[in-house]
C-alpha cells in the first residue's frame, strides 16, 4: 500500500510507548556506566548570610568518600557572568554554584560529597559541619509590595515585552461607567515537581571531553553552558536527554546538579552521577508569588469601557525573572481606556523559572474572574458577556489574527458542556446535599516559533532519517515529528526515524512556550523539501534517466518512490536512488524560521474556552470538580491523541492550581515548609473526573508552513478561573486567593 500524506491528523499512539511501558526508556539518572561515582548535595539551612566555616574533615575521612567540593576548594571556573548565562537567563547576575561563602537563598547548594555509592555520599553529607553568620532577609511578597519596581530590561525582554502603553483616560472612564468591579488577587508559590528527580550522569571521556545524560528541556542550551563555564570546546561536550520525566519549565535552564556533576567529573576524571532528592527539587525553580489589582468597567449595554490591571511579581536578589501577567485582557477585549503595569519585588529566594503557562495562568485567572464578576453585576450571562466583547482584531496591535476561532470554542464548548442549563442565580442549582455551580472562562496564549535546524537524509537502506536537538518531555514530539516527516515524503511511519534529545544534532532552542511543534516541525518541512529537490537533481543527472524530460513540480514522492505524478510508471525507489549513488546516503541540513516580515501584519495567538461544573457539600463545603470541557483553537492538530493528552494534562494542572497545589513559605524562617509530595498536594486519580477536550481546528495558512500553533499551555489558561467562577455560582462567594480550600467557604458559618 502506498502512503499518501495521511499521517498528519491521525491519532497515532506514541512511538516510544513500548519503551515507556517496559522500563526500557532510560532517563538521566538511569544510564549504566562503569566505575560510577555518586554525588550528594549539601544545601544551606539559612536564608541569607555567609558561611563562616565549613568543616569537611569527618566527612572526608569516612570510608568510601572520594571528594568533597565547597567554595573553598572548588576548581576554577569562568568568572564572567556572561559565561554562566544560559539562553533563558533573565536580566541580572546569574547564580554561580560554590562561587563564594555568600548565601542568597534557603537551600542554596553549598557542598558536593562524592563517594563510591549513593548511601555513603548521603550519610557523609550529614558529617559536613557548617557555621553561618545570618543576616536579615525578606521572602514574603505581600509584606514587601511597597518595594515593587520596574523590571530590568535585557535579552529576555524580546520574548516577554513589558505591558502595553495606556489608551484613552482609564480613571475618567472607570469613574463614569455605570458598572465596575475592582478586585485584588493573591497567588502563592508553586513548584514544577516533575515526578522524575533532577539528575545528571556525566561520562568522563578523557581529554576534557564529556558525555552528559541530563534532565533538561534544552540539550544545546546545557551543552553551551557547560562548555562556557568550564572552558571546554563546545564540541567536546555532548548533552543527551532522549527521555525526560516531565519538566514543565523547570528544565528550561541548566540546574545546579548539572554544574556540580560536570565539575566533579572533570576534576576527578571519573564518571559521576548526581540525583537530587525531592526536597532539593524545591531549591532551584518555582512559579513566583504574585499580587494583582484589577479594575474593569462596562457601559449599560454590557460593553467593556475600561481595563486596568496592575501586577507585582517576585524575583530573586540577583536576576529579574519576568512573566507576562497583566497584558492579556488587552488582547481579548476591546476597550477604549486601558492601564497596565508589571513590577517586581526582589526577595531572598531562588530566581523563579517559567512554569507551564507562566504569567498567563496567573494573569488570566484574575482577568477572567473579574470578567465574571462584571457580568454578574450587569446581570448578563458570562458567556454572552464574552461574546458581546469579542475582539475580531487584536485590540493591542490593532492587526488581524492569523486565525482566531475563539467564538467557535465558546459555542462548541458550551454545547458539549450543556451551559444553557445554567440557572444564573448563585446557589440555585443543587443535587441532594450538593450545591452545583457552573463556571466558564476564556483562554489566550501566544503562538511562538523559534528558528530550528534539521538534517534530513535518505539512508543507505532507503529510509528517511530526520534529526534535531530538541527533547520530548512527554509532549509527543517524537511521534508528531515523525508524522510530519512521513507526510512530506509520502512514506509510512515505519520508514521514518526521528533522532532527537541530543546536542550533537542540528540546533533547537529549549522545549518551552508551546513552540517546538512549530519550530522543529517547520524545519522538517523545509529540510524535506530541500532533500526532495536534491534527490530529483541526482536522479535527473543519471545516465538515461526517464525523469529528465519532466519538470520538478511534476515529480512526487509516494510509498518510498519518486515518480511522475501523471505517469506513475516512471518511478524509482528511494533504495534504487541510493544504489545509484554508490550506496552513499543523501542528506541536507536546513533551517526553519518564522516568517517575521509576513507576520508583521498580523497578530498570533491560541485561544480556548473552559466550562466547569463543581459540586460543593452544603455542610462541609468540600469542593469537587465533577465535569469540565475545554475547547481549544490552536491551528492544525498534528496528532489528536497526544494533543488531547496535552490539554487533559493541563486541565488536571488547572484543577491543581485552583484547588490543590501550593508551596507554603514561612517568611520568618525564609524557607518552604512543605518540600515533599505528601504535603505539596497535586490531584490524585480519585480527584479527576469527567474531563473532555474539543479541538476547533483553525486552517491557518499564514502562521507557518504547517499551520500549527502549539498546545502545551493553552489548556491551563482558562480553567482555573472557570473553577473559581463555578464556586461563586454554587455558593455566592468570591475567593481571591489560590488554591481555594473548603475552609474559605466555611468562614461565615464559623464567624
Amino acid at each position: 500500500m502506498t502512503q499518501d500524506n495521511n499521517a498528519v491528523g491521525k491519532p497515532l499512539s506514541r512511538l516510544e510507548g513500548k519503551a515507556k511501558v517496559t522500563g526500557e526508556a532510560a532517563y538521566a539518572g538511569d544510564y549504566q556506566v562503569p566505575n560510577l561515582l555518586y554525588g550528594y548535595v549539601v544545601n544551606s539551612t539559612i536564608t541569607k548570610g555567609k558561611i563562616v566555616s565549613i568543616d569537611v574533615s569527618d566527612a572526608k575521612s569516612y570510608n568510601g568518600v572520594i571528594a568533597i567540593f565547597t567554595h573553598e576548594n572548588r576548581p576554577d571556573y569562568a568568572s564572567l557572568d556572561l559565561k554562566h548565562a544560559d539562553m533563558d537567563a533573565p536580566p541580572g547576575k546569574v547564580f554561580k554554584p560554590l562561587q563564594n561563602g555568600d548565601i542568597k537563598f534557603h537551600g542554596q547548594p553549598i557542598a558536593l560529597v562524592v563517594a563510591t555509592d549513593f548511601e555513603t555520599a548521603r550519610y557523609a553529607s550529614t558529617l559536613v559541619k557548617i557555621k553561618y553568620e545570618e543576616q536579615p532577609f525578606e521572602t514574603d511578597l505581600e509584606k514587601n509590595l511597597g518595594r515593587a519596581r520596574e523590571p530590568k530590561k535585557g535579552l529576555a525582554t524580546a520574548l516577554k515585552p513589558p505591558p502595553p502603553k495606556p489608551k484613552g483616560d482609564f480613571e475618567k472612564a472607570y469613574e463614569q461607567s455605570p458598572f465596575k468591579v475592582s478586585t485584588e488577587f493573591i497567588h502563592g508559590t508553586e513548584h514544577h515537581n516533575p515526578i522524575e528527580l533532577f539528575a545528571t550522569t556525566v561520562v568522563y571521556e578523557g581529554d576534557g571531553k564529556l558525555t552528559i545524560y541530563d534532565k533538561t528541556q534544552g540539550t544545546v542550551n546545557n551543552q553551551v553552558y557547560v562548555a562556557n563555564v568550564f572552558g571546554l570546546h563546545y564540541k567536546d561536550v555532548r548533552v543527551l536527554a532522549p527521555y525526560v520525566g516531565g519538566a514543565f519549565g523547570s528544565g528550561l535552564r541548566p540546574q545546579y546538579q548539572l554544574f556540580l556533576c560536570a565539575m566533579a567529573a572533570l576534576e576527578l576524571k571519573r564518571n559521576v552521577r548526581l540525583t537530587l532528592e525531592r526536597k532539593q527539587m524545591f531549591s532551584f525553580s518555582h512559579r513566583p508569588q504574585a499580587h494583582q489589582i484589577l479594575k474593569f468597567s462596562a457601559d449599560k449595554e454590557g460593553m467593556v469601557t475600561g481595563l486596568s490591571h496592575a501586577a507585582i511579581g517576585e524575583t530573586s536578589l540577583y536576576e529579574d525573572n519576568i512573566e507576562i501577567v497583566s497584558s492579556w485582557s488587552n488582547r481579548l477585549y476591546p476597550a477604549e481606556n486601558t492601564h497596565f503595569e508589571y513590577k517586581l519585588v526582589p526577595l531572598c529566594l531562588h530566581s523563579p523559572i517559567d512554569m507551564r503557562a507562566p504569567g498567563g495562568s496567573t494573569g488570566m485567572h484574575a482577568i477572567e474572574c473579574t470578567m465574571d464578576e462584571l457580568a454578574f453585576k450587569l446581570n448578563v450571562d458570562p458567556l454572552e458577556f464574552r461574546l458581546r466583547n469579542y475582539a475580531e482584531m487584536d485590540p493591542e496591535s490593532e492587526k488581524p489574527f492569523t486565525s482566531k476561532a475563539l467564538r467557535e470554542c465558546y459555542i462548541k464548548g458550551a454545547e458539549k458542556f450543556g451551559w444553557h442549563q445554567r440557572n444564573p442565580i448563585p446557589g440555585s442549582m443543587s443535587k441532594g446535599n450538593k450545591l452545583i455551580g457552573y463556571g466558564m472562562a476564556s483562554g489566550i496564549w501566544d503562538a511562538y516559533q523559534f528558528p530550528a535546524r534539521v538534517e534530513a537524509s535518505i539512508s543507505s537502506q532507503g529510509k528517511l532519517l530526520i534529526s534535531n536537538a530538541t527533547t520530548d518531555i512527554g509532549t509527543g514530539t517524537l511521534t508528531v515529528m515523525t508524522q510530519i516527516a512521513a507526510d512530506e515524503f509520502g512514506l509510512s511511519i515505519q520508514d521514518v526515524s526521528f533522532v532527537y534529545g541530543d546536542s550533537k544534532q542540528p540546533f533547537s532552542m529549549f522545549q518551552g512556550g508551546s513552540a517546538i511543534t512549530a519550530s522543529t516541525g517547520v524545519a522538517i518541512v523545509v529540510a524535506a523539501k530541500a532533500l526532495k529537490k536534491k534527490l530529483i537533481k541526482k536522479v535527473k543527472a543519471l545516465a538515461n534517466s526517464p525523469f529528465h524530460v519532466f519538470q520538478d513540480d511534476a515529480i512526487v514522492f509516494r510509498g518510498g518512490k519518486m515518480m511522475v505524478k501523471h505517469e506513475p510508471s516512471v518511478s524509482i525507489s528511494l533504495e534504487e536512488i541510493i544504489v545509484a549513488n554508490k550506496g552513499r546516503a543523501i542528506k541536507t541540513t536546513n533551517m526553519g524560521k518564522p516568517h517575521l516580515l509576513k507576520l508583521r501584519k498580523y497578530s498570533k495567538a491560541t485561544h480556548s474556552a473552559a466550562f466547569v461544573e463543581v459540586e460543593i457539600d452544603r455542610e462541609l463545603k468540600t469542593i469537587n470538580v465533577t465535569r469540565a470541557v475545554t475547547a481549544v483553537a490552536a491551528g492544525k492538530i498534528i496528532n489528536p491523541k497526544t494533543a488531547r493528552s496535552q490539554i487533559l494534562g493541563s486541565m488536571v494542572w488547572s484543577l491543581s492550581k485552583a484547588l490543590r497545589e501550593e508551596t507554603i513559605l514561612d517568611s520568618t524562617l525564609g524557607k518552604y515548609m512543605n518540600p515533599n509530595l505528601a504535603e505539596y498536594h497535586i490531584p490524585v486519580h480519585a480527584d479527576v473526573h469527567d474531563f473532555d477536550v474539543v479541538f476547533v481546528e483553525e486552517k491557518d495558512e499564514l502562521i507557518n508552513e504547517l499551520g500549527v500553533k502549539g498546545v502545551g499551555e493553552i489548556g491551563l489558561i482558562a480553567m482555573p478561573a472557570a473553577i473559581t467562577n463555578a464556586i461563586f455560582h454554587a455558593t455566592g462567594k468570591r475567593i481571591y486567593k489560590l488554591p481555594i480550600h473548603f475552609d474559605e467557604l466555611l468562614k461565615d458559618r464559623i464567624a
Binding site: R14, K20, I195, S645, Q646, G649, M651, D687
Partner: protein, 156 residues
C-alpha cells in the same frame, strides 16, 4: 556485610548488601534494573511500586535485606519476552502516560490492585490507584487503560 538472595523477574540474584540500602536502590544501582523509578524516596509518589511475592509494595520504603528470599517482579518482568502484558498494551492504546516516568509504578501498582480484587467500580479503581501520582495529568488515560483490563477480567 549481609548476604541476601532475591528472585527478580524469575532470575536468582545473590547480593552482598549494606543494611541501609533500600530495595529500590538495590534494584537500580546493584542489579541495573532501572525501570523502577525514584520520585520521592519517601513513599509519597508511588513511582517505585513493584510486585513482591505477588503484592504491590513501595520499594523505596523497603530495605533490601528485609526481602531475603522474596520473589520480586519489576516492570522489566511484566511482559513475557516481546509479548506485552495486556495492561502495557492498554497503557499505549489509551495514551496513559506522557513523560512515562511514573508509568512503571502505575502498571505494577495496577497489576497488584487487580490481583487484590477489591475494586469493583471505576471510582473504586481510582481510589485504590491514588497512591500513584502522575504529574503530567494522564490520570484519565491511566484509569481508562486499567478499566479495559478490569472489564476483561470480570467477564472471564
Amino acid at each position: 556485610m549481609p548476604r541476601i538472595q532475591l528472585n527478580v523477574n524469575k532470575r536468582m540474584y545473590e547480593l552482598e548488601i549494606s543494611p541501609w540500602v533500600s530495595l529500590l536502590d538495590a534494584l537500580r544501582d546493584r542489579l541495573n534494573l532501572t525501570g523502577t523509578k525514584k520520585g520521592c524516596d519517601h513513599g509519597q509518589c508511588g513511582a517505585c511500586t513493584i510486585l513482591c511475592d505477588g503484592k504491590r509494595i513501595l520499594s523505596c520504603m523497603t530495605l533490601a535485606i528485609m526481602k531475603n528470599g522474596a520473589e520480586v517482579v519489576t516492570i522489566e518482568g511484566v511482559s513475557e519476552g516481546q509479548k506485552l502484558h495486556p495492561l502495557q498494551q492498554a497503557f499505549i492504546d489509551h495514551d496513559a502516560f506522557q513523560c512515562g516516568y511514573c508509568t512503571p509504578g502505575q502498571i505494577c501498582s495496577a497489576i497488584g490492585m487487580l490481583a487484590e480484587g477489591k475494586a469493583k467500580t471505576r471510582e473504586e479503581v481510582k481510589d485504590l490507584m491514588s497512591g500513584n501520582l502522575c504529574r503530567c495529568g494522564a490520570n484519565i488515560g491511566i484509569i481508562d487503560a486499567i478499566m479495559e483490563i478490569h472489564g476483561g477480567l470480570s467477564h472471564e
